[in-house]
């Protein structure tokens, strides 16, 4: 035996922790609102303590029954939905759904919306009284309802008005979810940050439509719906990139993430975290797989801290 012993390389783990407008997450992976129910739906299949956060179905002041069926239609590498924000309402959420979420050691982000400006304000007030809700995600971008949602998200002045009101009523981290159904997403992104958004989620679904050619009828009862899935990923990556150039708050990238490379693409484009949407429906193991994959990628690329990837695009 020679006197020189080879020291095994010190095992190391990259830091996956990120900060979203004051909310610290153990890793940047979370579900997109509306694809993960209230968390408990997937408790048997997903290790909830492993993901960065749980994002709830969009909550409103009163329960909402949503749109008539058919509400979903499969499309090439994706799906259309027009669920219409069906939800149990904020009070029922706090009474019936929170107790389960309390038992999980993962921050809860409550997604919410209003039918009117006043309702947005009231839901924000109610959420600020719930200690278990770590952050709120304000939906001003749902394409499937007449009131609320997208009406506020396509006009920078309306967006500014609703965000300012919510900001007054809600002091914890406030994320604003933006719509891609607009000519220049950076206009609303800037308005949102000026009005007090701590972070931005990009993007909600793209408005789409599909027709059954035999019956000549739309495949969705709502006629149009929101497109999600891998089909929209390049559009989403482009918009995250544009928004990252325009504002300095953290961005949550959303749009067709299935594989770990997809999530990394969003980080490089400028996202601090990512949300997994319709892929949860297809493979409930997706988010756990992404967390493992991000760690493996960092080790492979000798990246000590995942934040090194954020906005690291080389042109």
């Amino acid at each position: 035996m020679s006197g020189i012993s080879q020291q095994p390389a010190e095992p190391w783990k990259p830091n996956l922790q990120v900060d979203i407008g004051g909310l610290t997450l153990r890793n940047p992976v979370m579900p997109a609102s509306g694809t993960f129910g209230y968390g408990e739906e997937y408790a048997e299949l997903v290790e909830l303590g492993k993901i960065g956060a749980i994002v709830t179905k969009g909550l409103s002041l009163k329960p909402k029954t949503g749109n008539p069926t058919p509400r979903i239609a499969e499309t090439p590498a994706g799906m259309l939905n027009a669920v219409g924000l069906q939800n149990v309402g904020i009070d029922c959420f706090v009474r019936d759904k929170l107790p389960f979420l309390r038992s999980v050691d993962t921050p809860v982000i409550a997604n919410f919306f209003g039918n009117t400006l006043e309702e947005y304000g009231e839901v924000a007030k109610k959420l600020s009284d719930v200690p278990e809700v770590a952050a709120a995600e304000l939906n001003i971008s749902c394409p499937n309802v007449k009131q609320g949602g997208i009406v506020f998200g396509t006009d920078p002045r309306a967006a500014s008005e609703v965000i300012s009101l919510v900001r007054k009523n809600y002091s914890k981290p406030l994320i604003v979810k933006l719509t891609p159904n607009i000519t220049d997403i950076t206009v609303v992104a800037r308005a949102a940050v000026e009005a007090g958004a701590d972070a931005l989620s990009c993007i909600n679904t793209l408005t789409g439509m599909s027709i059954d050619v035999r019956s000549r009828s739309p495949r969705l009862a709502n006629v149009t719906g929101g497109l999600s899935g891998p089909a929209i990923r390049p559009v989403a990556v482009r918009m995250v990139y544009q928004v990252a150039q325009a504002v300095s708050v953290p961005i949550i990238g959303i749009g067709g993430i299935v594989e770990v490379e997809d999530a990394i693409e969003f980080l490089i484009a400028g996202a601090t975290a990512v949300q997994v949407g319709s892929a949860n429906f297809v493979n409930p193991g997706t988010m756990g797989h992404l967390v493992d994959g991000l760690e493996a990628f960092c080790i492979e690329e000798k990246i000590r801290d995942i934040r090194e990837l954020i906005g690291s695009l080389r042109i």
């Binding site: 739906e41 069926t69 994706g78």
Partner: protein, 274 residues
């Protein structure tokens, strides 16, 4: 509930456009209740994107291998080629990879069935009824009314007969069994004496007629519904049906995937299907 990557044991066309597929499914035997379903990913690509729901037709065991390992469990699906997903499913061969998530949904309520069960199936609607028949055949009187447009739509008759279930076949064109609608056979059967329970699966138009007949005769009915769905676990809210007494003021919305796919007819608002 499990999400597994597994393999196809066998895939056979049993009638024009209808297939029976055996899929290796360890431990599913003790998990699956009659009437439950699985979500199947027909291939590991993004297109087609979504899983498809299929009722579990039957659970079985492969003959033991010479290696002395215990017999391997499989689940069997019966499906009809209706679109792109099932077209791909039809091409799968022994040894091909497939992903299944399940068992999902509630299944039939066996406790309320009584001593005399009548199964009513329209075409591929036979799929969820075999396991129910199997669970009941030993202790109860079980009969099956099996209807289809033509003889090609009549599936799995010998499987039911092997359980000792009396099977009455009818086709709209008379190419097999009695000529006429299965609902006419049902009306006749009930007129001769009501069973303690009816379980039905098939096209919605047929289910609606079965419901009307059973309501009139006051026979307890369980229905297995089909719906478009993305997740199968109650998250996507794609497969909502209105429950009995639903109104905007007092919503009673049910998911076919989780509150169903089996419902007591009295729990459903039938006007929505009219």
């Amino acid at each position: 509930m499990k999400d597994i990557q597994t393999t196809v044991v066998e895939n056979q066309e049993i009638s024009s456009g209808y297939f029976r597929m055996k899929i290796l499914a360890p431990e599913f035997g003790r998990m699956v209740k009659p009437g439950q379903f699985v979500m199947v990913k027909v291939r590991q690509l993004n297109d087609p994107f979504l899983r498809r729901p299929f009722c579990v037709f039957r659970i079985g065991f492969l003959p033991p291998e010479s290696d002395g390992l215990p017999p391997r469990e499989y689940l069997e699906l019966v499906f009809k080629v209706v679109g792109r997903g099932t077209e791909i499913l039809a091409t799968l061969k022994t040894g091909d990879r497939i992903a299944i998530l399940g068992p999902l949904g509630n299944g039939f309520d066996l406790d309320s069935i009584g001593e005399d069960l009548l199964l009513v199936a329209g075409g591929i609607g036979v799929a969820p009824l075999y396991m129910l028949g199997e669970a009941c055949a030993k202790k109860k009187k079980v009969r099956l009314l099996l209807g289809g447009r033509t003889r090609d739509d009549i599936l799995a008759v010998t499987d039911f007969e092997r359980l000792g279930i009396e099977t009455y076949v009818s086709t709209d064109d008379g190419t097999l069994g009695e000529k006429g609608l299965v609902t006419e056979v049902l009306a006749q059967t009930l007129a001769d004496g009501a069973p303690s329970a009816v379980a039905v699966c098939g096209p919605m138009a047929m289910i609606s007629v079965v419901q009307t007949i059973c309501r009139k005769q006051q026979v307890p009915l369980q229905v297995s519904l089909e719906a478009l769905m993305a997740c199968g676990v109650g998250a996507c809210l794609g497969c909502m049906v209105k429950g009995a007494g639903h109104s905007e003021a007092e919503p009673r919305l049910l998911t076919v995937c989780k509150n169903g796919p089996v419902f007591r007819d009295v729990d459903i608002d039938w006007a929505q299907f009219a």
